[in-house]
Amino acid sequence: MFAIVAGGGKVGANVARTLLRRGHEVTLVEQRGDRHEQLESEFEHQVHLGDATELFVLERAGISRPADIVIAVTGDDEDNLVIGQLAKEKYGVPKVIARVNDPRNQQLFDLLDLRLTVSATQMVLGLIEHEVPAHELVHLLELREENLEIVEVEVGAGAPAVGKRVEELALPQGARLISVMRQGTAEIAVGSTRLDAGDQVLAILEPGKEDELRRLLLER
């Protein structure tokens, strides 16, 4: 695989190094002269000096071959957005991964149709929510491409679902239960699985169905 990594900060350098170790071909692009010099001692000719939002820089890095994947991980979201858009739409790169620095900009990546995004801040926030839940419904995983999400809910005492079998639940369209964990043991949720107050339930659902699920599993 031939990968172009735009942005030679900590993330970019570590990604490039790991891909190289796995035997892939990599070109790393860094625009700051001093940082480029540091990287050169390790990456030699595999690191290029230049602004990866400039077409000639991308072309010199080999994007027109085309690259199999472009990884836009600079510290500026506007740059990652433009690199991603150029890679996909001008050069026909089949896979583009972009880093979201400010989670508020996630909607801009969605707007410009860059679906594979990574946000460290968002991941930390997700972990905090999981470890220190502020809400009774925790988002565990967002499957953007599939437009689905996996959530965790603790069945509330007195909720409509308590004492019912999964097949008896009026689950919203576009929502399914995956598993039920009780006293540390999880089992796959099948039609005959009975729910009890305090059960930790994993569910997969379309975004926007959370409220219906909440009404069923949480509320009195």
Partner: protein
């Protein structure tokens, strides 16, 4: 008619003043509070201090009612993103964007942005002046 000018530097502020003079209801947006000074003491239009890529800032500046958006911050990539927000997210009909890099200007013009590239104007004009002086000689 309402216009939004994102980026209130030399270019943006002059566009804002010109449009206001012609009767447009203009709001300028700039990251730096100091940019307001460029509009002069007699400025009666709006000014919002914030980043053009921040959708809330654009809303506060009235982008939902805007008939035209001019994007002229000092960053090409910011301009590219802001112009596409105006066009795709808010459906503004007239979005004009300044890009300094001719290569990106071409690509985004092909994709339907109304791009003004002063760099191209400069080199074309400079070359043209040289040609004109030679033909006079």
């Amino acid at each position: 008619m309402r216009a939004l000018v994102v980026g209130c530097g030399r270019v943006g502020s002059t566009v804002a003043l010109t449009l206001a003079e012609e009767g447009w209801d203009v709001t300028a947006v700039d990251e730096s509070e100091g940019a307001l000074a460029r509009l002069g003491e007699r400025w009666r239009g709006g000014f919002v201090n914030g980043h053009g890529m921040d959708v809330d800032v654009l809303r506060e500046a009235g982008i939902e009612q805007a008939d035209a958006v001019v994007v002229a911050t000092d960053g090409d990539n910011t301009n590219i993103v802001v112009a596409q927000i105006a066009q795709r997210l808010f459906g503004v009909d007239c979005v004009v964007v300044r890009l300094l890099d001719p290569a990106r200007a071409d690509f985004y013009a092909d994709r339907g942005l109304d791009v003004v590239c002063p760099t191209r104007t400069a080199y074309e004009t400079l070359a043209e002046r040289v040609r004109a002086s030679r033909s006079k000689a």
